[in-house]
């Protein structure tokens, strides 16, 4: 069974602080997606990384895919209350069937 573990599970920080969320597995993935989910809604895609070592930036968010394509990180600089939500990583399986495994989730709360 392939697993994606996220850490930390919960994070409560003050506005302006920096944070990093980790997504780890022992399995190799063809791609890695990061989603954000607001209460009562479905997840919305933030970014997809596909190449080992790839780094992508989305305003204050920086995403990195591990060299071996087994792990990823999401770094938020100067967090804002609007960043509050559930962050999910999802790994694309390499079997070619286009199935995805979702991580356990990190619930972030940014206090004003």
């Amino acid at each position: 069974t392939q697993l994606l573990e996220q850490s930390p599970q919960f994070l409560s920080i003050q506005e302006g602080e920096n944070l990093t969320v980790y997504c780890n597995s022992s399995s190799v993935f063809s791609s890695l997606q990061w989603y954000r989910q607001e209460p009562g809604e479905g997840p919305v895609l933030l970014v997809t990384v596909v190449t080992g070592g790839e780094v992508k930036k989305l305003k204050r968010l920086t995403f990195q895919f591990g060299d071996a394509r087994k792990d990823s990180s999401l770094h938020i600089t100067a967090a804002q209350p609007g960043d509050t939500g559930l962050y999910l990583c999802a790994g694309g399986l390499t079997s070619g069937t286009y199935k995805y495994i979702f991580g356990t989730g990190t619930r972030l709360k940014v206090l004003a």
Partner: protein
């Protein structure tokens, strides 16, 4: 475009009852997925479809059935509902090809008592 729509939004079932969760998309995407999300957790894949007439099991298919007779619709059937099926159910689509982006519906919150 409505994207991905799911009905109903909320439902309470008694143990042993059956129901169908509806999912419809207007994006002409080939791939469709059903996930469940338990409180505070990530999503687990129940079933998926790569096109009309083709479905396959995900991680947690027991107690569920699906069909895909058209590109647009991908209903999820629960037979003999159990308390363990209390969850939020999300339908998602993906265009196909090299894109990994999944588009999610708003979810159906199901409680089995």
């Amino acid at each position: 475009n409505a994207g991905v729509t799911q009905t109903p939004k909320f439902r309470i079932l008694k143990i042993g009852q059956s129901m169908t969760l509806q999912c419809t998309q207007d994006m002409n995407h080939n791939y469709m997925y059903w996930y469940r999300q338990d409180p505070g957790m990530g999503l687990k894949l129940i079933y998926y479809s790569v096109g009309a007439g083709i479905t396959d099991k995900g991680e947690v298919p027991n107690g569920y059935n699906v069909s895909r007779s058209t590109t647009e619709d991908f209903p999820l059937r629960l037979e003999l509902a159990a308390p363990s099926q209390t969850s939020v159910y999300f339908c998602a689509t993906r265009r196909g090809g090299n894109t990994d982006t999944q588009y999610f519906g708003p979810g159906t919150r199901l409680t089995v008592l």
